[in-house]
Structure formats: structure tokens, C-alpha cells
């Protein structure tokens, strides 16, 4: 983790500058999770792999350790090392699908 003081803004100024924006983002996340709870249940009764990964990343935010952005990205990454046989699609999901997953291309990250 980079040492304290690498951002030139003072502590309170940093909060002044960014608090409302990130307050809104936290509420967006809360509303997103509520929306999922209110949506129609999945056909297979299992929680989507993206949501499972998403919930795990939330734990990083409150564990009190640094490098949160890096660790969230690592948690959402494929850690295998060998190239795959053939590209199954052109898009990406944002989280690592289980081997059995045969869904359509994920939204986003398409270019």
C-alpha cells in the first residue's frame, strides 16, 4: 500500500471533496441489492455467480486493510494461467463464471 501523504489533499478536504459522490454510490449499491431481492427468483434457484462475487467484494471495503481497489479487482479476476482452448464469446462478465456456465456474453467491457 502506498504510504500516507501521497494524496496532497488534507484528510477533511478529501472527505469534503468526495463524500457526497460516494455516499450516493453506496446508496446505489444498497438499492441494487434491494432490487435483486424484489426481482423474480432465478429459474435454477441458485444465486448468480456475479452476485456471489459482488457480495464478497463488499467485505473488502470494511476489513480495515488498504489496497482495497486492487484487492477488489483481484477478487473479480480469473487467476488461471493457461490460455483457454477457444474464446466462447467476445464480451466479459465482470466476475469469473463457473466452468459449467454457458450464458450469453456479459454486458459491458465489450471494447
Amino acid at each position: 500500500m502506498a504510504p500516507a501523504g501521497t494524496c496532497p489533499l488534507a484528510h477533511t478536504r478529501t472527505i469534503d471533496r468526495y463524500f457526497l459522490e460516494h455516499r450516493a454510490k453506496v446508496i446505489d449499491i444498497a438499492a441494487f441489492l434491494d432490487r435483486i431481492d424484489r426481482s423474480q427468483p432465478p429459474d435454477n434457484g441458485r444465486e448468480d455467480f456475479r452476485l456471489v462475487a459482488f457480495r464478497r467484494t463488499l467485505e473488502i471495503l470494511t476489513d480495515g486493510r488498504g489496497d482495497r481497489a486492487k484487492r477488489v479487482l483481484e477478487m473479480l479476476s480469473d487467476h488461471s494461467v493457461e490460455p483457454i482452448e477457444r474464446a466462447p464469446m467476445q464480451g466479459a462478465f465482470g466476475a469469473v463464471p463457473p466452468p459449467s456456465h454457458t450464458g450469453a456474453a456479459g454486458k459491458g467491457g465489450g471494447r
Partner: protein, 266 residues
């Protein structure tokens, strides 16, 4: 403020965007070949695209005093069709001597497949043979970490000087290893994927100002041709000085790109 946007897909943008970029201080940009949003059907389609990149766009940019440069390749998304990819690779040398062509790019991986890696390697061989710079696209989202490592290994195996390779779309989980291995690193400023202006500033604060730049990668998707000057504004709002802003948005791109005799910032 004078700046360089080292990654912008201007074929997807209107002339108004050239004007806005010029008004914001853009003096030069580089445009990598990329995926059109659909798979092209033939190598001839790429020949037309390369003519657009090497002839039409420089003229459009020049109307606003912006120097246009380009990179040539077939995108990794279209590399599963190895026969098509090889037929495109065969026509690239016809364009490598055109004014403003900097090298091979944006090559790389998309889903980290064997065919993608094969065609990536053949692009590298072309770059090595012609002694050009290389601009590398790293995969999206969950595929980026693995793909970045495969890419760096392939470049090392080709014996290409990492100081002549820019690895683009780095984020917090890839930037350190890219810099540690001697490559240049690019941060792409997108509102939803890749890197926001705030995170780009965080990365500069955490990983330093050496061998790193920012770009808009503006294209046909959600993107902003003014992303670089907006990120510069974010740096200033945090209290960073003009020397750092200029270093990241002008001097660093010029230092890397000037390794090609075809690059001119002004």
C-alpha cells in the same frame, strides 16, 4: 494546457469532437486500429479501414491543428478466425511506411484463447521485423489480470524491448507488474469500465509518474473525448502542480511515442 491523447478512435467520432479536443488543448493524438463493433468479413474490409486511418483521419484532424498518428492490426476479438487474421497481417506492411504510422496496435488478448495468443505473437513478430513500436490492449474485466501476464510473457519471449511497448488499460491490479517489467503503462479513462479520472489520479499518486500516461480511448461506446483534460483538472483540484499534469498528459506520451520517427507532437 497542451496535451496528447495517445489513444482515441476518431473514426467513431464526429468532427465536432476534433474541434472540442483542439479547444481543450489537444495538439496530437494516436489512433489504434480496433474492433468496429462487428466482425469484418474480409481482409479487403481492413484495407479500407487502414486507408481511413492513414489518409482520411489525418486530414480531418489537421483541420483543427491536431497531429494524427495511427497503429495497425487486427483486433484480438477477430483473432479466433486465424485465416482472416493472417490475411490481414499480410496487408499491414503495405501501410507501415505511411506518414504518421507508429507501429502495431492495439494488439493483445480478449478472452485469453490459444488463437488470440497465436495471432498476438504473429503481430509481435511483424513489429520486431519492422522495428516498430507496439501498443497493447489488455483484456476486459475478469480476463485482464491473466491476459496481462500472458501478454508480457509473450513479448519477453519475442525478445522485444519492453521500453518500446505500451501496455494499455492498466488498473490497480495490473499497473505495478507492468511497470516492474519495464513496460510503459496506459490508463484508459472510461466512466463505467477501466479507470475513472479519480482512480487514474490515485494510481499516479501510488505508483509514480514514470512510464505512464492517460488516454480517452474515445470510440463508439460510452466514452469521452475530453477525458484527458478532465483528468488533468482532477489532478489540479487535488493540489498537484502543473509540472506533474504536463508530465503525465504531454511529456510522457511524447517521450514514448518519439521513439518512432513518425511522431510529431507539434
Amino acid at each position: 494546457m497542451k496535451y496528447v491523447d495517445p489513444h482515441a478512435h476518431m473514426v467513431s467520432r464526429t468532427t465536432d469532437d476534433y474541434e472540442r479536443m483542439a479547444l481543450a488543448g489537444c495538439v496530437a493524438l494516436t489512433e489504434p486500429a480496433f474492433w468496429a463493433g462487428y466482425d469484418r468479413g474480409s481482409a479487403e474490409g481492413f484495407r479500407d479501414y487502414f486507408r481511413l486511418l492513414t489518409h482520411t483521419e489525418p486530414r480531418r484532424a489537421a483541420q483543427y491543428g491536431i497531429r494524427h498518428h495511427t497503429w495497425l492490426c487486427i483486433n484480438a476479438k477477430e483473432s479466433e478466425d486465424v485465416a482472416l487474421a493472417r490475411s490481414v497481417l499480410a496487408i499491414i506492411p503495405e501501410f507501415l511506411t505511411a506518414p504518421g504510422v507508429l507501429g502495431i496496435g492495439e494488439i493483445g488478448l480478449n478472452k485469453n484463447s490459444k488463437n488470440e495468443l497465436l495471432i498476438f505473437d504473429e503481430h509481435l513478430e511483424l513489429a520486431r521485423r519492422f522495428g516498430t513500436l507496439v501498443l497493447v490492449h489488455t483484456p476486459h474485466l475478469e480476463d485482464k489480470l491473466k491476459g496481462t501476464r500472458l501478454i508480457m510473457d509473450a513479448i519477453r519471449n519475442q525478445g522485444i524491448d519492453p521500453g518500446r511497448v505500451l501496455i494499455d488499460h492498466v488498473e490497480e491490479h495490473t499497473v505495478q507488474q507492468v511497470l516492474d517489467r519495464g513496460f510503459w503503462a496506459g490508463m484508459t479513462l472510461y466512466p463505467e469500465t477501466k479507470c475513472t479520472a479519480q482512480r487514474a489520479c490515485d494510481i499516479i499518486e501510488c505508483y509514480g509518474r514514470e512510464r505512464i500516461w492517460m488516454n480517452s480511448a474515445c470510440d463508439w461506446g460510452v466514452s469521452d473525448p475530453l477525458a484527458v483534460p478532465k483528468a488533468a483538472m482532477e489532478m489540479r483540484r487535488r493540489g498537484h502542480g502543473e509540472d506533474l499534469v504536463r508530465r503525465i498528459t504531454f511529456e510522457n506520451p511524447c517521450t514514448f511515442l518519439s521513439q518512432s520517427p513518425n511522431f510529431r507532437a507539434e
